[in-house]
């Protein structure tokens, strides 16, 4: 809860461990923020779609960077190139982050190793947080997919990389110094960061293996241009393969998702509203929604298309007890409330009006200024409508016979010609225009009040 104004809740986005979507909601408004999400079956809990329903605004970001690259195809490409290099006696370098997609890569390789006869090839994961990343992934079972959760109850490690570590097929090191140097064996597969190739241990491997065309560097992170990343290492003999594995939502999936959750308004980056510049004919690579989404650019400020109209106010029980509701129509009762509105941290509470403290008997003469203010009881509120025919009949009984009735857009105007007085009967008010004839005005007022209810 943020300052009592809104509640913010994370939802599983299905993308990877640690990723989430957000719901920002007040009592009467709801804004969803969809970031990198995935509908594919990978390691995390499936994306929570139902909680996104009934949003006033859905802010859509984090769609796939590679809408034309099928993640499954890329994963296959990754494995094929890896196996091909190892069979030819080369090494494979995979610049990657220390968590996220690497869990899926390791799982995929776990299945692939045997079929590709790579059982004897060592896999190294080098990162200062390699150990924690691999171990922490095994203990967040509540955020994992159903199959992995089930494994935990067996009990078995949810991720198969535990077995790879156990069988010494996967080894992890905090850095290339120390144990790694003595245990390093080639040909091998190394997972290390940073994917930009600008820092981290990957730099050493690029320099070590870059000169041999037997080796391959396989880029899997879609957030970096592999050509830019490789630029400083040119000329490079090693093979470079670009297999961006991006499991985030594509345009087709997001269209289906939006049809399902039906937000009133969608806000998204401007890029999503038009096809890519290089593929202008690909109308399938853009968002086509009705009503059209609100695009935004970097640093632009948007006013979201909804207005806060209501606020929730709490009422204390003792004050509620004192209310006298009267039914205005079946199932609807109203009551007047006299209370003190107490607002703190964006929470509003109606409290009883404090009673004046009893006057303590004193021999001293009270001073006028010390007397508490007299709290006047509020005037009753009126409701109901004045029926024209019945009102005219009542006027006639009172001897007012010369009445000219004029129909207006709001109601009626009654002109009491003899008295030179106007009575305006409208839906939400009645006015009596009567110059210098207070008794007549009072009489007319009382006649009107006869037809109204008092609260």
């Amino acid at each position: 809860e943020l300052f009592g104004a809104v509640q913010i809740s994370p939802l599983s986005s299905g993308y990877s461990l640690g990723s989430s979507n957000w719901i920002i909601q007040s009592h009467h408004e709801k804004v969803s923020y969809v970031s990198g999400s995935s509908l594919l079956t990978t390691h995390p809990q499936p994306m929570d779609q139902s909680s996104l329903k009934n949003s006033d605004v859905l802010i859509l970001t984090g769609l796939t960077q590679m809408p034309t690259a099928n993640p499954d195809g890329m994963l296959g490409e990754f494995c094929s190139n890896l196996a091909m290099t190892i069979r030819a006696g080369g090494n494979v370098l995979v610049p990657c982050y220390s968590s996220g997609v690497i869990y899926d890569l390791l799982e995929c390789l776990y299945q692939f190793i045997e079929s590709a006869s790579l059982g004897t090839t060592p896999f190294y994961f080098i990162s200062p947080v390699a150990n924690s990343s691999l171990e922490f992934s095994q203990i967040f079972a509540e955020w994992l997919c159903h199959n992995k959760q089930t494994k935990v109850y067996l009990p078995e490690p949810p991720f198969p990389h535990a077995e790879l570590i156990q069988t010494n097929k996967l080894k992890h090191y905090p850095s290339i110094h120390g144990d790694f140097s003595s245990e390093f064996r080639q040909p091998c597969v190394v997972f290390t960061g940073h994917p930009s190739l600008r820092f981290g241990d990957v730099v050493h491997f690029m320099e070590l293996w870059g000169k041999s065309n037997l080796n391959t560097v396989i880029f899997t992170e879609p957030d970096f241009s592999y050509l830019d990343a490789l630029a400083p290492y040119q000329p490079l003999a090693m093979k470079c393969v670009y297999c961006p594995i991006d499991t985030r939502l594509n345009f087709h999936q997001v269209s289906k998702l939006l049809k399902e959750v039906q937000p009133l308004n969608v806000v998204c980056p401007e890029q999503y509203t038009q096809p890519p510049v290089t593929q202008s004919h690909r109308s399938d690579l853009m968002l086509e929604l009705q009503p059209p989404p609100m695009p935004y650019r970097r640093c632009s400020v948007l006013s979201l298309p909804f207005r806060r109209r209501y606020e929730r106010v709490y009422i204390l029980p003792e004050l509620a007890n004192s209310l006298v509701p009267s039914e205005v129509k079946a199932g609807v009762s109203v009551a007047t409330v006299s209370a003190v509105l107490h607002s703190k941290d964006n929470k509003h509470t109606l409290q009883s009006v404090p009673k004046p403290p009893p006057v303590a008997p004193s021999k001293k003469r009270k001073r006028v200024i010390e007397e508490p203010p007299v709290t006047l009881s509020p005037k009753p509120l009126l409701s109901g409508a004045v029926p024209l025919e019945a009102f005219l009949a009542t006027l006639q009984k009172q001897g007012i016979t010369e009445v000219k009735v004029e129909e207006t857009a709001e109601g009626h105007i009654l002109h009491l010609q003899a008295e030179d007085t106007l009575i305006q009967l409208e839906e939400d008010g009645t006015h009596i225009v009567c110059d210098n004839n207070e008794p007549l005005r009072t009489t007319l007022r009382d006649l009107v009040l006869r037809f109204l209810q008092k609260l």
Binding site: N70, G73, L75, S115, C243, Q279
Partner: protein
Amino acid sequence: MDRECVLILPRVCEVLAASGSSLPDDTSLEKLLDWFTTITQTGVSLLEACPCLLDLLSNVAFNSTSGPSILSFTLKLAGLIGASEDGFKVLEECSVLGLVFDPRHWQEAGLWEDPCLRIGWIQGLKTILQHSKALRFFVQAGLIEPLLHLQTDSSLFVASAANQMLAHVLLLCESLSSVGCNGTKERDLEQSSLSMETNQNCSGVITKALEYLNKCLVLKETSQLSQRQQILKLLTQLLVQVRTPLLDKLLLTVIDSVEELVTKSCSQLTLPLMDVVLAANSRLSDDHDPKQRIGRLLSLMLSRNNPVDVIQAAAAWLRSRQYDPVHTAHCARVLLLPLDIVTGISLLDENSTAEELRILMTEQLKSKTCFSMICVCLTNIPQITLLAPDCLPCPQRRIVSAVLSLLKLCCGDTSSSSAGCVGVFRFVTGSSKVQKCSMEALSALSKSPEVEILLPEVFKLLTEYLNRPSSDPSVLQKSYQALINWIGVSTDLSCITGLLREDLIQAVRKRACDMRWEARDSTVEFLGHLAEVQSCRTSAGEEREPSNSLLGGCSFTVPLLKEALQDLESYVRASSISALGQTLTLSWQQGAALTQSQVEIVTRLQEILSQDSEGFARRAVVKYFIAWFSSCSSPTSCSLLVQSVPTVLSQGVADLDWEVKLHTLELAELLLDQAFPNPAPPHPYAVMSDQSHRSHTQDKESELLSSLNSLVDRGVISALFCFLVDCDRPVALKACQLLLKLRHTVCPLMVSAADTRVPCELPGWSWVHEIKKIQGVNKDPHTQGGSHIGSEAHGEAVEESTSAEGDSVCVSVCEVLRSLDLDERLSILTQSSDHIYNSPLSLLQDIITASTANSHPNSEPGQEVIVDCY
């Protein structure tokens, strides 16, 4: 007919007549009917052979308490009996005929509601309607009305059978009328009055049926669509089968209604209507009156404004293979139009296709229906490639370009389709279905004339597809097939640049490591097929194998395939073994020395044969050795092959998979053929002295002895003996045939003294028992063949020669060949394995047994096993 069957049949008829409900196994009635049909087909009168059947018919017909399946059986049986004029007469005389085929009788008994009975009625009636008397009965009993009523039966099976029946009735009427027309003046009065009556009957039936057909065609209710489709199918069937004058009459009756349907343009009726029009068009010669009208209907169908309909109609025309240059050219244009619109490559001349159709089709292609339209267009390209050039709106080369362009669109590449229909791009991009159809079309187009020039472009695109990460395995397979077809287009592969070759090598190497086994399988299959493509010429002008020219030959292929022998998926292992065989065939034929790699392959293959848990791989191993043996220029000089064959045979014998065993027998047959090649026939007038004849015979005997010994040494003979008693019938049959061949070759020339000179060691005691069993059959005095020897003596002979170890048996080959009655064995094995259980006698006994079991006081209802066979 078997005497025992004749004796038992009355009891069976009693059982059938008495059983109030169906028999537990419905199929027994079908089998019984099949048996009766077989008897009638031999020309035997069923009633004469089995008079009790008449009682069965009477009992069931007059007492309607039998179950529907027995009633249905009875109706069919009545049809079978009445199909002959004599049988018909008997049925008529005993009043059975009228009763069993009277629908009112069954309606009153409340049994007509059962579709089983209605099917029996239709099929029985169809069988009986073979002669004019039956037709007279059909007409007089007014059975045409219920038959017409059944055309729209609620049961689809009944309706379909009724359709067939109506066609049968009309065809019968046609044949009987034509006989009547051919009547000569010499016939007596009675004969001529009979034929007149028949003609009247025929005419009445034909008129009613045709009126009915016409009425059904013009029904206004759209709900009757399926009925109309059914009637159109019937009409097609009739148009194909009937002759003039019925053909003319039929067309005259329905042509207005058909025309009305054609002009109404109901999409669901396009295909059946087209079938009707095509059938009529093919049957009518140019001098027929309605020919022009049918031609106009055809033109109407082919010029509809609904693009989906017109494409279907055009495809139907091309499939029908009818020749009309105008229609054919029009259909080719219609079918090429979607490709023209989508790719923007002009396949049609400006004025050739109605602009309206182009506009409508362009709009239609922007919706999801584009898939079906494009796919129909692509699947008909093989037909289009067969058309004469004057029927095509453009050279076939241009169609290849359009297909290539479409394949590029499927990958999201629009560079070659700038004038294409942008609206359709979003649908075809990434569509595996369109990709597969396009690949098939591309394969078909490889046979087109003058397309060699496009080979580099095709090669480049196919290599790109093979390299694409998102290519579906089925698309990859089609890409490989297309590549093989296109590589065969030109004998000169010099147009394939080094860069393209490098791309292909890269793609193949990558796909051999693909995660999806289907992709790996297609890749190794491709390598095998490539090795079989005929040789081509390189840029340097030398003759080379395409495999060498494109991939670098065995040095590239063999290591990849060797790697695939370790694959986890058995299909891939099997394919890689086959591909290795295909790849190495040339070197075997040339008698090249074996490399170390080939020796390793043989070792690995033997491991697979002995250890692999999957049959596919083991079968492939045996086939590899068959291929090696049969293509090897001199099998005996290849020591590795000679050494390997006995191992393969012994492992094949021990295998549990019957196909492995059968392939092992094929290998054994090759060895037999090699040992005993067919001798050149002696010159018919050759003169040979006694001495030279004797010496020739001795030489021959010694030659045979040597060959036989060699076969024994290689394990061929022991394998054949073991397979002879194999539990799999095809295996035992093949072994028996080979042993007979061996006996014919060896035994006549071998004198008894030679017999003991060819001993053969057989593994295991079980074999001896089996041989004893076979020999035991020979004790039967009825057994044919003069070469049998008393089983006891031979049993002893076998036992006497048992080796001391006790785990193998030593036998004399010729002695065993003679003593086993292989001819008798062959006749037994030639029959199906269940011939005893499926004999008519067994069937009759089963029916009686089943009825006894049903009537047994202790049997509880619902406990019987109910078998439904369809």
